[in-house]
Symmetry: C2
């Protein structure tokens, strides 16, 4: 065992994941979906289970002070629930590995767990275990185990040319909340009490995982599904790469979060840019046959009050992701989302 | 949700775990064993599953340079396998959350995964997922999901007065390996090539998880079981606390790792002290009725070549853990193992 990425000194997150997938590619009994999707799907007993892990690191994913410990705990659970949702599964159990600084953090830990428990209750899962360690930054590793109906797990790999591309809810709100939080206080004083500003902040701090929607979409014929955590312009190419297809999306069709128009008046930020490139929305990005879109749209509206926007279609050209502009001009979609190692 | 540990500014790891258990104590459907044991036991479908998480933090659990990346990966998996073994379960799937410094770590990561895969193969599990994040120290969060025969999960809570206390294998070797690694090189130059020194180093770097032994002991009538990760003098009181019992152990009965006698000649370290207080042995600490010991001992020897030592018995006095000295004198067992927050 001495496999090296020879000569490769720097790497992007996707490069590294690709290398690890080659390393981990051995077909193992009971493994339906392994490394590289939102979550793994495995057989336990003869029952399919969904397993996913996310790591939140202080200074990378959050800053102490910018978020309350309660919201941080809530979010740590919700983003993992979103990964289970993106497979069409439902979360059941969670474990929490927690790295803490030495001493005097008990109130912080209890508030953090308070937030985790609120999210756990909301999404119907139980926190059943964990591990504590000293660390010099707060590190939160959440793993969820969930269930999925046999044959109904939806990976990133099933998109077919001609499929429509749909997105739940609205995009860009979390990125808008982040801009608001990072902007000069004097610029935004008058905005902070408004409904739209609160809405953007909530999108960032208390993301909503689309569990019921994911299951509905799986039943409605979704061919591929993932959650948008790093931004549409990063995540859509990932889905295309997994499926060996291309995509064409229309900028004008993006479901821009309405509050971004208010934000634009204050900070000048382009709502469509935030919707395209902003991460942490945790909406579902889904492909499905054209005829499945309308029934799915109706079902999501009736059952969950969640909108579904058709933003484009899958094409044959592998890896080619095209953005059609408002004036009909088109070009390759620029990838400007979050990469942990790309800088 | 605003529960605080009022007024408590500093806390030990056990204090914090106790507080979290109160917070997480809600009886949830499908949860047989929750927070506080080696692993959780939950129902998935109608099949019992074992779930466990461990966090390894650079500078706390390991130092770069002191361990090879390969051994580190191996150990990260093995210590989690040990938690599954301590419930009487067998590991099936693993996820790995990995925090890394920015840039140039690809060879490190690939070697780390090489070690993980070696352990995964050895213990018959598949690494099916994970997450990568930037961090300023290496952080490894491993979660394993395993299986356990219905009704055969063994917690820490079932020890009964009169039960015998037994331990698999030998104790103190990992602590001996650590002493050796941390000692002045000039003191140990002549020892480093010897078999006993290599044995101690291997105990530290490549721990053995007792999976088959755990299942055998569960079937043989184990009433309580845990793995010894923080040292017998720390872990036995934990088992007693969970079971609401006390214990009396005999110093002379401890299965001291033979190589510790060689180490004593070089460094003067007391073998019995290392066996009592040294952590990271990952042997199983088990209680069982007196009549079950002999058959269990025979079975472990025949099937796995693993020894089983009877070191004492469970008593009625809750929380009272007594050490009987070689001369027959006795006193409370001093707790000198590892506490992540106790300093």
């Amino acid at each position: 065992m001495n496999r090296r990425l020879s000569g490769q000194a720097r790497f992007s997150e996707d490069d590294l994941i690709a290398a690890l997938r080659r390393l981990l590619s051995a077909d193992a009994p009971g493994v339906h979906v392994g490394v590289g999707d939102d979550a793994a799907v495995v057989d336990l007993g003869r029952h399919p289970a969904v397993v996913t892990t996310d790591l939140l690191v202080e200074g990378v994913h959050f800053r102490r002070g910018a978020t309350s410990a309660h919201d941080l705990g809530y979010k740590a659970i919700a983003v993992n629930v979103s990964d289970v949702a993106a497979m069409g599964g439902s979360p059941r159990y969670g474990t929490v590995g927690l790295g803490l600084r030495t001493g005097d953090e008990a109130p912080f830990v209890m508030e953090l767990y308070g937030g985790m428990l609120e999210a756990a209750e909301e999404y119907g899962l139980s926190v059943v275990g964990g591990d504590l360690s000293r660390a010099d930054r707060v590190v939160i590793a959440v793993t969820l185990v969930g269930e999925v109906a046999r044959g109904h797990a939806v990976t990133r790999a099933g998109a077919t040319p001609g499929d429509r591309i749909v997105v739940t809810g609205a995009l860009g709100a979390a990125a808008g909340g982040l801009r608001l939080a990072q902007s000069d206080p004097s610029e935004v004083t008058e905005s902070l009490g408004t409904d739209w500003a609160r809405e953007l902040a909530a999108s960032l701090d208390r993301p909503v995982a689309r569990v019921g929607e994911g299951q509905s979409l799986a039943q409605a014929g979704a061919t591929a599904m993932m959650d948008i955590s790093d931004g549409l312009s990063t995540d859509l190419p990932r889905l295309c790469a997994e499926s060996g297809v291309g995509a064409r999306i229309r900028r004008a069709a993006l479901p821009v979060a309405p509050a971004l128009h208010d934000l634009q008046k204050v900070l000048g930020t382009d709502p469509f840019d935030l919707a395209l490139h902003g991460g942490e929305d945790y909406e579902l990005l889904v492909t499905m046959p054209a005829e499945a879109v309308e029934p799915a749209l109706r079902k999501l509206g009736e059952r969950y009050g969640t909108s579904l926007a058709e933003i484009g279609e899958i094409t044959e050209a592998p890896g080619e992701v095209i953005l059609v502009d408002d004036d009909g001009g088109e070009g390759p979609l620029e990838r400007r989302g979050w990469d942990h190692f790309g800088g």
